[in-house]
Symmetry: C2
Subunit: 456 residues, 2 copies
């Protein structure tokens, strides 16, 4: 993409309304624009990041054997009356009346609707296990929306629902989700710690929240410092294996890690003092097992092998897709702007032309642009007639992890400069070597994408 033809409205001033760094940087980098309280338009750069995050979530869900579908944003109130949640859910539910005076609502979550889909078609234990998920816009009418996309009203969420014959099978689905979430966050360059949590309006006994440590997090968290040394890494996992998934759950949840809602000071004090940590965290996902809470009142039953009828065991599992974009910035920035991890960067690299209009420099940039695009690494090419300083400042602000700087002096020696946004380190390379180097850097990310059939 050529910057001269792009729509990247970066701001010089720091917007006064933004209280936290991710909100400030998303506004300054031209990623979002507030449309109304708590509702945002995703401008082109922000949209690219949102789609990258969404894609990783899709890929890891499909890898775990979960099946994508898509439910509408608006729901009929009748379904929620069946579960009893229509009256129980507070003012955060946006209630709507259509032209025929029917009660509807903008879905804040989809337990009822997915249970209705299940009960409409599935009757036999033979069709289990089944996990369906979607990534769809939700709405929660927050009384005080703030922190940009971190606590907005309209937000993009992946919510998945498992249907199993027994509690044991459903707990395996729970563990499978935990594993897939660990992989998902790590691919984005994030460490999200599973913490024992409170189930809130979803219900159920077993639940973990995934928290990214950040000073601006809304939750106070308490954990054993050993937990931050754990990495899922590139280990192979068989999602069908109860033992393997259970082992990962145990590895990642056996140490103390709780939010303030479930914090137990007595237990916490049993950790050696040097390992006790109190910090703040951003919730980026949550998994629940809630048994037959919805299947029983809504009649989602299956025939067993023995001929009886039993309500299915369910759980629901969410990842805050739009919120993750904010969380990623909270965890990856410096005083000059955003520092995108390679997995989610809107463009793999930027090209800065130090002397726009100079025939040789322009031609070298065009060749790089074409070579990178051909290699599937579409760069953002700053081809504006601007000072080098302004171009560098824009690149730093929007946070592309790699910058190629092209100028007459380097070209005389046959080199361009490849600079890491994170470390600031630069290296002079022949243009073709720079392309090869970037291909190498992005190869692991592309391999992960290629190793799962596209979800769509």
């Amino acid at each position: 993409m050529r910057l001269s033809r792009y729509f990247l409205p970066v701001l010089k001033e720091t917007p006064a309304e933004a209280q936290i760094v991710s909100h400030r940087l998303m506004l300054r980098a031209g990623m979002i624009k507030q449309a109304s309280a708590g509702n945002y338009s995703w401008l082109p750069l922000g949209y690219r990041v949102l789609k990258k995050v969404e894609r990783i979530v899709h890929e890891e869900q499909v890898r775990a054997g979960h099946i994508p579908l898509l439910m509408p944003t608006l729901q009929s109130a009748d379904l929620w009356r069946e579960s009893g949640r229509y009256d129980a859910y507070g003012p955060e539910m946006l209630r709507i009346r259509d032209r025929h005076d029917r009660d509807m609502l903008y879905g804040p979550t989809n337990e009822e609707m997915i249970t209705d889909i299940f009960r409409s078609y599935v009757n036999s234990y033979r069709d289990l296990p089944l996990t369906l998920y979607h990534i769809q816009w939700k709405f929660r009418d927050e009384v005080r929306p703030r922190f940009g996309v971190m606590r907005g009203r309209e937000f993009l969420m992946k919510d998945g629902y498992n249907f199993d014959l027994s509690k044991e099978a459903a707990l395996h689905a729970y563990n499978r989700h935990l594993v897939s979430y660990l992989r998902t966050y790590e691919r984005m360059g994030l460490q999200a710690i599973p913490m024992r949590a409170d189930s809130g309006p979803i219900g159920g006994d077993d639940t973990h929240e995934f928290l990214v440590l950040a000073e601006t997090g809304e939750s106070e968290v308490f954990y054993d410092s050993e937990i931050t040394d754990l990495k899922f890494g590139d280990r192979e996992i068989d999602y069908g294996s109860v033992e393997q998934c259970q082992a990962v759950l145990e590895e990642f949840t056996s140490r103390y890690a709780r939010t303030d809602e479930t914090h137990d000071p007595a237990l916490f004090d049993q950790i050696p003092e040097a390992r006790r940590r109190v910090a703040r965290g951003i919730e980026v996902g949550q998994i629940f097992y809630f048994g037959t809470k919805y299947s029983e009142p809504m009649g989602a039953t299956v025939q067993t092998a023995e001929g009886g009828k039993v309500p299915v065991h369910m759980g629901s599992h969410g990842i805050g897709v739009s919120r993750l974009v904010g969380a990623l910035i909270e965890a990856n920035h410096d005083e000059n702007g955003i520092i995108w991890p390679e997995g989610v960067t809107p463009f793999p690299c930027g090209i800065v032309n130090l002397r726009q209009g100079d025939g040789e420099t322009d031609a070298a940039c065009e060749r790089l642009y074409a070579a990178l695009t051909k290699a599937g690494l579409e760069p953002l090419y700053d081809d504006r007639d601007e000072r080098a300083g302004a171009k560098f400042a824009t690149m730093d602000l929007i946070g592309l992890p790699w910058r190629l700087t092209v100028g007459p002096r380097g070209l005389k020696n046959g080199v361009v400069e490849l600079t890491s946004r994170r470390s600031g380190a630069s290296e002079e390379l022949a243009p073709e070597d720079a392309v090869a180097r970037l291909q190498e850097i992005y190869a692991p990310h592309r391999a992960l994408s290629a190793s799962v059939p596209l979800p769509v």
Copy 2:
């Protein structure tokens, strides 16, 4: 995907509520489920088609140089008061009041919001031309929703908006959209005819609707039969060239083609009688030029080269993404079910195992499955323990364009059968030749996707 692990709830009976064939087939093939009046859940198979259609639309928009972003589904009423449409828009607009008693609405279209984005950031003629688009869920509170996703309430639409300095420049954007739409529909295997139309609540003088001929279409259409011989084909086009885009517009719109809203019997009668056609059509897109209708009241102006300030010239351009899924079926089916064009099929091919449980047949199917998946052509493998007839009926119903039939008799001769859903013709091929053949069939579709950098 293995059918035994998929969620494909096909129905044996024809649902009574469905009046048109696409609605019936989408229900029977397990593509959609009604969630409430006019609102549908896209079950896994339907979701895949929806995403394929969406992806082609994205690719052709990006190819034309248009920039994707994403606006929220809910909008503030204030913006619509600025343009005067809040009161003018009828009961099809879903009006919502939030917990703070603020008037909101579920966007039926986005002229106001995109104009607000534009005026917030763009001040100079230097930043023009600019075309922004998004693909987002919309809502129109139809008084009688019917025909499934063809006239639903919540629907997925691509809407794009061009901002130009002059009427001439805006008409080039109009023509560019017309060209990109022709390409878009043809990639899906659809012929959509641009017809002079009425602008309705969007406003403006220049507008064309794109109609797919189908007996069940809601519009009566009148056209010169020569128009159906036109093909955009694989011609190269420079979207920056005013002449090239203008020439395509003239080629495709110079013959008589109008909907009943703009039909002129006197003009129609000038066509030689043998070429006069009266038929029915489904609207799958519309383009508008409306000048300064929104930019003037909303103050979307730019500084000109001469220093003055002028309101920008705009147009808006829509493609009915979810509606296209229905239109595709109306145009591609027979008495046994759907016949997907290769460009939009949910799976490139199906594998039917004629003797599930037979070691050799199972192994041959698994090898085919792996080879096709590796080639990027993930098949739907019917690995259920069912009669061949039932498996064939399911494949015919869901309409995958190619079926591989694998059985002990063929395997004895080293062959499997490749059958075209459309022609019914079969061919016996060595398994590796069948894979190669499918790769060849899908190569043009993949080349079209690969020739544009991914939009996201």
